[in-house]
């Protein structure tokens, strides 16, 4: 299926893509720390943190994440004396690794033509992209469980068990909620799903997932918020009310967990755009330019088209990050048994019904 050979150019392009994505995501994760504080402040009629300054320049509190990072770097790295040192070190590494891995199959643009060859703007264009994302999310459970186990702390262990139960519950529902998308677009490759969303329904409306699977969209957003342990489903962490699984972590390891939370939000937003909102597709924008259904065309160079598409993807991801943050600061926390009941008794049956109806409709239409 690839239209380029596996040679030095291929590896070089992959390395460059990896570096670009890593740079983008890790910077965005740090930036999200600032966004979290500022957005929550603006929503709550406050101003938020705005005092960190370098040589008198405050920059709206943008230096606060840097200050947080510096503070965490110089903190004592405390491992509980009776805990497991290796696992204590490994848990944040696994957490961060799993979420970064999940991002590697999300396409953020169409292909770029360089030196006569096409480079798809996706780190791994694999046949089972869809399954790979959920497999990587499953790895995240290890991070949570090992964090609780290696701390030699009863409360951390309970928090880790809560986290594991919640994540495993919602992984099942997560897969089922988007199976309807795979049925409709007929592929597990994420780039194919995105491309198929560019086709027009009845010649007018782009076939975005949210229009064809509205119930699936709602269920997916809830399930992915619960999978990434995001408020209102953060009973495992608990923050102020209950002891979470990273109680024994300080300094750089805690920052690694904190970063993995934000990268998880970015992955969640990326998945929502990829499955339901057309990924990098702009309505009516094809390779050569705009082709509107009422006949107007506007020719654009391929590079400009790719730039617009990457920009569109970024905007959509930022919008969903904003939405997830708004949800965090709007709703009260679910009690843990309510979280699990919601997952197994409400979302799973609804996802199955959605799948059934979608399957029937697809079978009848084709």
């Amino acid at each position: 299926m690839t239209d380029f050979g596996i040679d030095g150019f291929y590896w070089a392009s992959k390395v460059v893509l990896c570096l670009v994505v890593l740079f983008g995501i890790l910077n965005l994760a740090g930036f999200l720390g600032w966004v979290e504080r500022k957005q929550s402040a603006v929503m709550q009629d406050r101003i938020g943190a705005n005092r960190a300054s370098i040589m008198g320049i405050r920059a709206f509190g943008l230096f606060h994440p840097i200050a947080d990072a510096l503070k965490a770097l110089v903190k004592e790295d405390f491992v509980p004396p009776t805990g497991d040192r290796k696992l204590h070190f490994l848990a944040p590494v696994i957490s961060l690794f799993a979420v970064l891995l999940a991002y590697s199959v999300i396409p953020f643009g169409d292909y770029v033509a360089v030196a006569g060859r096409k480079i798809p703007l996706q780190i791994a264009d694999i046949d089972v992209g869809f399954l790979f994302v959920f497999a990587a999310a499953s790895l995240g459970v290890y991070g949570v469980v090992l964090a609780g186990l290696s701390s030699n702390n009863k409360y951390a262990l309970l928090g880790a068990m809560r986290g594991a139960a919640q994540m495993i519950a919602y992984e099942v529902t997560l897969g089922l909620t988007v199976l309807g998308i795979c049925l409709i677009y007929g592929s597990l490759r994420l780039n194919d799903i995105v491309r198929a969303q560019g086709e027009l329904l009845g010649g007018w409306v782009p076939m975005w997932g949210v229009l064809l699977q509205p119930l699936g969209f709602v269920l997916f957003v809830v399930a992915i918020a619960a999978e990434t342990r995001r408020i209102p489903f953060d009973a495992p962490e608990g923050e102020s009310e209950i002891i979470g699984y990273f109680i024994e972590y300080s300094g750089l390891k805690f920052i690694a967990f904190w970063m993995s939370e934000f990268v998880a939000i970015i992955v969640a937003a990326g998945l929502i755009t990829t499955f339901f909102f057309g990924g990098w597709q702009i309505p009516f924008l094809l390779e050569g330019g705009f082709h509107t259904p009422w006949g107007a065309t506007w020719a654009l160079s391929h590079d400009l088209v790719v730039l617009l598409q990457v920009g569109a993807f970024t905007l959509k991801v930022l919008f969903f990050i904003w939405l997830l943050m708004t949800v965090r600061w709007t709703f009260p926390r679910f009690r843990f048994d309510q979280v699990l009941a919601l997952g197994w008794k409400n979302i799973l049956p609804l996802a199955l019904i959605n799948l059934l109806v979608t399957g029937l409709v697809v079978a009848l239409v084709r």
Partner: protein, 171 residues
Amino acid sequence: MPIRKQVKMGWREEIYLPELLRGIWITSRHFGRNLWGHILALFGIKAPSYTVTVQYPEERFPVPIRYRTLHRLTRHPDGTPRCTACMCCETICPAECIYIVAGEYPDRRIEKYPVSFRIDLSKCVFCGFCVEACPEDAIRMDTGIVEISEYDRGRMMYEKGDLLALEGAWD
């Protein structure tokens, strides 16, 4: 036995989704308004501000007139201190932070005066009992000064001279 009426949830509350969207709408409205206000303020345009933050230390929250702030000893109109060292405030203080040493005053109508009058601000709980107990209206807590932090504990002991020198904020 009173029968408690079971409030039935309507279909909107059962599904919970309409309520979720309503909640998101309310917070997003606050977000939009405040963001617009901040952006306008950036360009210097005054807009109705919904933020309640008081940017300390550039701005300060106005101290209400009945707020119990730092103590001061008052004077008669002719300048002599009102305090007659009757020890009422020292007796009633629940934190036992007032230390008075009395001395004899030459005027027979005002028999005593405080040779030394010290308040240990690190012990004071700012209850206001001393103000209520004083029969001479000699001690008041209306200086309006609330910033009394020090780096050195010794500087938290306020002497008679310091207390006499302070002015009321609402005279």
